[in-house]
């Protein structure tokens, strides 16, 4: 791996990323009770994406990688594409009254499944 950085510079980079990830982890832990309580899922996933970006770019040395970077983006696109299709599908779920995956035919404990 071609690099012009010295050992000390690279090591310092690792620790900077570590501090960033620790700060974001702390935010992850306090967020549900401290701020944006009504948007916990979205905020948590947003923080997760930032952490993932830092790990991929710096710890996994993806910065400056063209072919591998394009492959990763393609794979992520495939996952995201199916994610969107599934979300559209589930948001137009037509068989809530008869399907076993919704509340009516579940268990004695009841359920709070949302209807779509």
């Amino acid at each position: 791996m071609a690099t012009t950085k010295t050992y000390e510079e690279e090591r310092a980079g690792y620790f900077k990323v570590l501090i960033g990830l620790l700060v974001l982890t702390a935010v992850t832990l306090i967020q549900p009770t401290m701020f944006l309580e009504n948007a916990t899922f979205g905020v948590q996933m947003f923080i997760g994406v930032i952490k993932a970006w830092m790990i991929v770019m710096y710890y996994m040395h993806m910065k400056g990688e063209k072919l591998i970077g394009a492959s990763v983006i393609f794979a992520m696109f495939l996952v995201a594409f199916f994610f969107v299709i599934v979300m559209i599908d589930v948001n137009h779920f037509q068989f809530g009254d008869v399907s076993h995956i919704t509340s009516e035919v579940t268990s004695a404990g009841g359920s709070s499944a949302s209807k779509h």
Partner: protein, 232 residues
């Protein structure tokens, strides 16, 4: 034995000169690219699992929030930090190897193995507590149609929780095995500061294991944190 004549592999450099390939050990980019292709299959596998999770989370939103609230965030958060530090030690190990500090590199790999064992130990404690509270695959609470059954959404949540954290744990165990193998290869001088692609790829693998946890942790432990019940 084959009667086929020997056909040499030919590599061409940027100036157009041809060379007969004697071995692929020096093909750093090829080794790295191949391993990334493997990791992309892992991303897509876990991506599909997250997709299933999101599907049921949308259908059974409140059940998922209630189930998540009962998980132990202290242990989950501790494991998140442990894995985060282990990613650092693995990265520093590779850095030391690249700069010729083989002994320091081995020390960092051992530190990573130790942290991985801590992670598994905490996970075992967590799963045991959940089992003692009647929440585990196969127990009545997670089976439908029984008086003690949990709501369907919670059954789905815990089913996915044990499946995904279990599969993640299997990746941790495989990672420990691979790191022990890496140490053996370093001792045999098959991995050196000049030829460290195996070390590089295992560091990538460990980062992937960390990366998956970056999403597993908030998805399972944090979405219900606003309804804290103290955990099992």
């Amino acid at each position: 034995m084959s009667d086929h004549p020997y056909v040499p592999e030919i590599a061409v450099d940027r100036e157009g000169n041809e060379y007969e390939v004697q071995g692929w050990q020096g093909d750093f980019f090829g080794g790295k690219f191949g391993f990334w292709l493997f990791m992309l299959t892992e991303i897509m596998m876990f991506g599909a699992m997250f997709m299933v999770l999101t599907y049921y989370f949308t259908l059974h939103h409140d059940d998922f929030i209630n189930a998540s609230a009962s998980l132990n965030r202290t242990l989950g958060g501790f494991n998140t930090v442990v894995l985060l530090i282990s990613a650092l030690t693995m990265g520093l190990g590779l850095l030391k190897m690249r700069h010729g500090d083989v002994k320091g590199s081995k020390l960092m790999i051992w530190a990573t193995i130790l942290l991985a064992l801590v992670f598994l130990g905490v996970k075992a404690v967590e799963w045991t507590a959940e089992y003692n509270h009647g929440i585990f695959l196969g127990l009545p609470a997670l089976q439908g149609g029984l008086p003690e059954s949990k709501p369907f959404g919670e059954i789905m949540f815990f089913g996915m929780y044990f499946t995904m954290t279990g599969l993640h744990g299997v990746h941790i165990i495989i990672g420990i095995g691979l790191m022990l193998w890496l140490l053996k290869r370093i001792n045999a001088e098959k991995v050196t500061p000049e030829h460290y692609i195996l070390h590089f790829n295992l560091a990538l693998y460990w980062d992937l294991v960390h990366l998956i946890w970056v999403f597993v942790f908030p998805y399972y432990y944090m979405i219900g944190a606003g309804l804290s019940t103290g955990g099992h």
